[in-house]
């Protein structure tokens, strides 16, 4: 009856309830996975840092000395009263709301294990507000400078540590010869060729470099005297990085600034290297970290001073360092009981152990870094080559077009092959048939490269496809050959996109475990690998092994620390990729 009336009136009453319920249901569904993951991440962080045993005083101390000044910095940079008001309301109101809600749930439903309302406040309110303010703050001039400096410091340390790790398996003497005889002449010739715009010199650079590399391998056993390791690293890494920084600055702000930017980090690094060698630390790594942090920081500071805007932002690293020191002093002076985190410096520098408190991740981290470095080189070269071939060299139609389509379908199917099948391929082909050895770093790197190759290719293809055709036609019209167009126009335009895709794919490779198990990677190694053919372990392998241990200290402590380490590295890699992409988008 009702419907009849409605029809007669023309418009009936439309039920809104169903639509509203559906909208909220679908919204709930879209955050369901994220919330579940968030809760699990909170728990694993609490376990890794032993926050369940952190006293409220300890949390309050660091909140006041570290988080509050940081928030103040972000608000100062944002310089927006509206944002400040909202932040204060969120932090203050959140405190009351979380405390009340948490207490109510504990009282009425059931106690929540290993969390208290202070921790809940930190994770549910303080962390998102901090992240949001950091985002808003970084868009201001001051914040941009501050985060830029902080990023260069952290990035320099991370890259320095990673490169230093690579030299564990690289023979420094071969490297010394290869650099002196191959890389240096080749780069020099190429630079000369560019300067004088002589294409002969540029063309000759690659063969001469190759010749030098081959010569280096032969001369390794012939040359009787070599300089010490420290001098080798100084000559092959610190000097070129410092020189590059100096050249960069010299072009903009004169010789004095260039000398400071290049010379000071070099001197500090040299001194640090000698001191570290005396103190028993790995001198090359110390040297690398110092020079790779110092030179980019110097270049950046010199640029900021030149521009003269947002100088206050340069104080951000100091502010954070002061916060950590002040927090530590207060905790020490007042005897505030501090938690005993599983994830501490000794965890990152020690070998695994049967005793949970002594267990460390060092050999696995080294293994992961070495594998990822090889995978990066292999998958980048193969991925770019294949995508250039598919996008630039093959026609879309005709008999060759069929080949393109076959290749395309093949890549799409390879992307969907389960990773454990790649593991079987590695075991059957690389480890047993080609004799590269079961569980060696080379086998693992080759297997993982093939595994992420489809992802690299697909993202590189997208990047190349997004280069406007006008640019290619323009280059063609100037009489450039296909390779010249590719090299001078397409690849430079597409490079940020290609790099982003490659780094994201590497993030996939660093977490892969199943292929490593299949090729027989060691479950636990007690020494860091010293050659590409030694048996190695990797971070996810070690996590897998420890997760099988029945002791609670392993399950809830050591493994949690490993998971957090792995996730921090992943976040760092993906963050770099996203920054690259954003910068490229802003640039174009």
């Amino acid at each position: 009856m009702a419907t009849d009336n409605a029809a007669a009136d023309g418009f009936g009453e439309v039920s809104r309830v169903r639509g509203i319920v559906f909208e909220y249901l679908s919204f709930g569904a879209s955050v369901f996975g994220l919330v579940a993951l968030g809760v699990l991440l909170v728990y694993v962080a609490v376990d890794a840092f032993d926050l369940a045993n952190a006293s409220p005083e300890w949390l309050l101390t660091y909140f006041l000395t570290l988080v509050v000044p940081f928030l103040g910095f972000c608000l100062y940079s944002a310089d927006d009263p509206d944002v400040t008001r909202r932040a204060v309301v969120a932090l203050g109101g959140g405190l009351v709301a979380v405390a009340a809600l948490f207490t109510a749930v504990e009282a009425l439903v059931a106690p929540i294990p290993r969390l208290n309302w202070q921790l809940a406040y930190l994770f549910v309110v303080a962390a998102p507000v901090t992240a949001y303010l950091a985002y808003v703050g970084s868009r201001g001039r001051v914040g941009g400078v501050g985060f830029g400096l902080l990023g260069r410091l952290i990035g320099g340390v991370a890259i320095g540590l990673a490169v230093g790790t690579l030299f564990l398996v690289l023979d420094p003497l071969v490297w010394f010869l290869a650099y002196t005889l191959g890389i240096l002449p080749a780069v020099g010739l190429y630079a000369l060729g560019r300067g004088r715009s002589s294409s002969r010199a540029q063309t000759a650079a690659a063969p001469i470099g190759l010749l030098g590399l081959v010569a280096a391998v032969f001369l390794r056993d012939v040359v009787p005297v070599f300089p010490s390791d420290l001098i080798i690293y100084l000559w092959t890494i610190a000097v070129p990085v410092a020189a590059a920084g100096a050249v960069l600055v010299a072009g903009r702000s004169g010789r004095t600034a260039a000398a400071v930017v290049g010379g000071v980090p070099l001197a500090v690094a040299t001194a640090g290297g000698f001191l570290a060698a005396g103190a028993g630390l790995p001198a090359p790594t110390v040297l690398l970290v110092l020079v790779l942090t110092g030179v980019p920081t110097g270049v950046y500071v010199s640029r900021v001073v030149d521009v003269g805007e947002g100088l206050v932002g340069l104080g951000l690293p100091l502010l954070l360092a002061a916060g950590v020191v002040a927090g530590a002093l207060i905790v020490e002076a007042w005897g505030v009981p501090a938690p005993d985190p599983w994830l501490d410096p000794s965890y990152l520098t020690e070998a695994p152990s049967r005793t949970p408190t002594e267990a460390g991740l060092y050999p696995a981290i080294v293994g992961s870094v070495i594998i990822i470095a090889m995978v990066a080189v292999l998958s980048f070269a193969l991925g770019v080559g294949t995508s250039v071939f598919l996008e630039e060299y093959t026609p879309e139609s005709g008999p060759l077009g069929t080949l393109t389509r076959i290749l395309q379908v093949n890549v799409a199917n390879l992307a969907a092959v389960p990773s454990v099948v790649y593991g079987l391929l590695g075991l059957g082909l690389f480890a047993n048939l080609l004799g590269l050895g079961i569980g060696t770093a080379v086998t693992a790197a080759l297997t993982l490269s093939l595994l992420i190759l489809p992802i690299t290719i697909i993202s590189a293809q997208e990047a190349i496809r997004s280069v406007p055709d006008d640019l290619r036609r323009g280059s063609d019209a100037m009489g450039a050959t296909r390779w010249q167009t590719t090299k001078n126009v397409v690849l430079p335009e597409a490079m940020p996109g290609i790099l982003t895709g490659t780094i994201l794919a590497l993030g996939r490779a660093i977490g892969e475990t199943a292929p490593l198990i299949m090729i027989g990677a060691a479950t636990t190694v007690f020494r860091a690998p010293d050659s590409l053919f030694s048996r190695f372990s990797a971070m996810p392998m070690q996590i897998y092994t420890w997760a099988g241990f029945p002791q609670a200290d392993f399950r809830y402590g050591v493994v949690a620390a490993g998971v957090i380490t792995l996730l921090i590295i992943l976040v760092g890699m993906n963050g770099t990729a996203i920054l690259l992409r954003n910068r490229a988008e802003r640039g174009s």
Partner: protein, 324 residues
């Protein structure tokens, strides 16, 4: 570019240029050939060892056997894939119960309801779910989800069980369903929606009555991809599900109809095809033994199943795509 020519070199003689062009073209072609070689290598590697395996164990025995024990303590090896299939199907179906409804609703929300701002935040965040290493998901399932389920809903659950692993596989595959479905829904032209509104439909009716049917081929292909991903998933089940190849107990119900209690499968440990492969690697890896070869037979089965599913998903997406 070159300093030697005053006038443009229109004929482009010069062996060096041609040599360079040829070399680079050849290099790129070689890179592309490696992808084809990879596929061929996977086929050959899997087939060659699987053929050796099927010489000792007949295909019927492999496909119909109900006992899987490649390295028994006493003797009497058995290579029957049925218990592994039961494990794999259990995980896949349970995971699909999470990923398919949640993923579809997410796609509808993102394409129909979300503001552009909310979408630009939610989409990359959802991709994180697929980017977390699977061994981490497995650890979560073992150490946090299982104890939580045990303490609240199912006290009779064992430490290693299929349910917690399946939940994690489901959460991991949400973005597969949501992102492909959302692409399909976003491709539905706005005229269709406007036509719906013009007929007096509500937003709910437009979403479920117009957008979803119009993009059904994309949605279906996303389901198949997610299921295929769940079948091949290894580390979550290895860590959280244990490694016991069991046939579930068949109970006699009323009226004499046999049935399997889902709790017998879900709350107990089990073994999937992928777990069986990983478990064998604990033994000899240099080759030549029957368990070693059986690994490749399992790999072949897995490869074939996922390949067929991907091809089907591709065909559905291509053939039944609505052209606007």
């Amino acid at each position: 570019m070159t300093d030697s020519t005053e006038s443009p070199d229109l004929t482009r003689r010069g062996g060096l240029t041609r040599l360079k062009e040829g070399t680079y073209g050849g290099l790129f072609a070689a890179c592309a050939a490696i992808t084809l070689l990879t596929t061929a290598a996977i086929f050959v590697t899997l087939l060659s060892d699987a053929v050796v395996f099927f010489r000792s164990i007949s295909i019927v025995e492999f496909l119909a056997g109900t006992n899987w024990s490649p390295n028994p303590a006493g003797g009497g090896q058995a290579f029957g894939i049925i218990p592994l299939l039961i494990g794999t199907i259990t995980v896949t179906i349970t995971a699909a119960f999470i990923s398919i409804p949640v993923g579809t609703l997410t796609a509808i929300y993102l394409s129909e309801y979300a503001t552009p701002n909310a979408r630009s935040i939610l989409k990359p965040l959802l991709e994180i779910l697929a980017g977390i290493p699977t061994v981490v998901y497995g650890y979560f399932a073992l150490v946090y989800v299982t104890p939580a389920l045990k303490a609240t809903l199912f006290p009779e659950m064992s430490t290693f069980n299929a349910l917690a692993a399946s939940i994690m596989v489901g959460i991991m595959t949400i973005p597969m369903v949501s992102s492909i479905s959302e692409d399909a829904m976003s491709a539905v032209p706005d005229q269709l929606r406007q036509a719906g509104y013009g007929l007096g439909a509500t937003k709910f009716e437009v979403s479920t009555g117009i957008v979803v049917p119009a993009s059904i081929s994309g949605i279906a292909s996303s389901y198949i991809l997610a299921v295929s991903r769940a079948i091949g998933e290894t580390m979550i089940v290895v860590v959280a599900m244990g490694a016991q190849a069991r046939m579930p107990e068949v109970r006699q119900a009323l009226f004499g109809i046999p049935f399997v209690n889902p709790a017998d499968v879900l709350f107990e440990s089990g073994m999937t095809i992928t777990v069986a492969m990983v478990q064998i690697t604990g033994g000899d890896l240099t080759g030549g033994t029957l368990p070693y070869n059986s690994m490749f037979a399992l790999g072949l089965a897995l490869f074939a199943v996922t390949l067929v599913m991907n091809v089907i998903s591709d065909i559905i997406a291509q053939r039944y795509r609505e052209e606007y």
